[in-house]
């Protein structure tokens, strides 16, 4: 945590210094910091996901139900990362298109869950 905070402060300072002359380089520094922070955190996230998977397996819930949730979470992270990068570059139009694409793809992943629920209800009735 302290490492990420420190890297963030250093990155911000460097970005300010560099973007005075070259704004695109400043943006790339921001992007590099984003990648660095997320990769550093990824290991912890893996432990959390393993824990979730384990508790789901123990509780006897169908493993197919937890996969779409994790997938949507991952897609949300990737979408947010790309959108922030585009916003930093000042391209709000592209950012909102990526957002829309992400929403549609998340919906595509989530729809089978809804249909499974409907199927379950119809079998009960």
């Amino acid at each position: 945590m302290i490492r990420i905070a420190g890297i963030g402060i250093v990155g911000a300072l460097l970005a300010v210094v560099v973007s005075e002359k070259k704004p695109e380089m400043g943006m790339l520094i921001g992007l590099a910091f984003g990648v660095l922070a997320l990769v550093l955190v990824a290991g912890k996230a893996g432990a959390v996901i393993q824990l979730i998977n384990e508790s789901v397996r123990k509780s006897g819930i169908d493993a197919d139900l937890i996969v779409p949730i994790l997938k949507v979470t991952g897609m949300a992270y990737i979408t947010q990362f790309a959108v922030d990068a585009c916003r930093d570059a000042g391209q709000n139009g592209i950012a909102s298109k990526i957002e829309i694409a992400g929403k549609i793809m998340m919906l595509a992943v989530a729809v089978p869950l809804a249909t499974a629920l409907i199927k379950m209800v119809t079998t009960i009735l």
Partner: protein, 64 residues
């Protein structure tokens, strides 16, 4: 994959801007432009590789 990446990008940025100023002052605008472009491409290659790395990590993590 460390803080070195950020320092590297900052160093390239400063270097390119200095080269740009020198070349502009000596009246070689098109070479200054080429230097800027080359610096941008080099940094972009560095960053894009790491972004691909990040996306692979997320993909592996969330079970795509």
């Amino acid at each position: 994959m460390d803080v070195d990446l950020i320092f590297k990008i900052a160093a390239i940025g400063i270097l390119v801007s200095i080269l740009n100023i020198v070349l502009n002052k000596s009246g070689r605008e098109e070479q200054a432009m080429m230097t800027t472009l080359a610096g941008l491409v080099v940094v972009l290659m560095l960053v894009v590789r790491e972004i691909a790395n990040l996306f692979d990590t997320v993909k592996a993590l969330f079970g795509f």
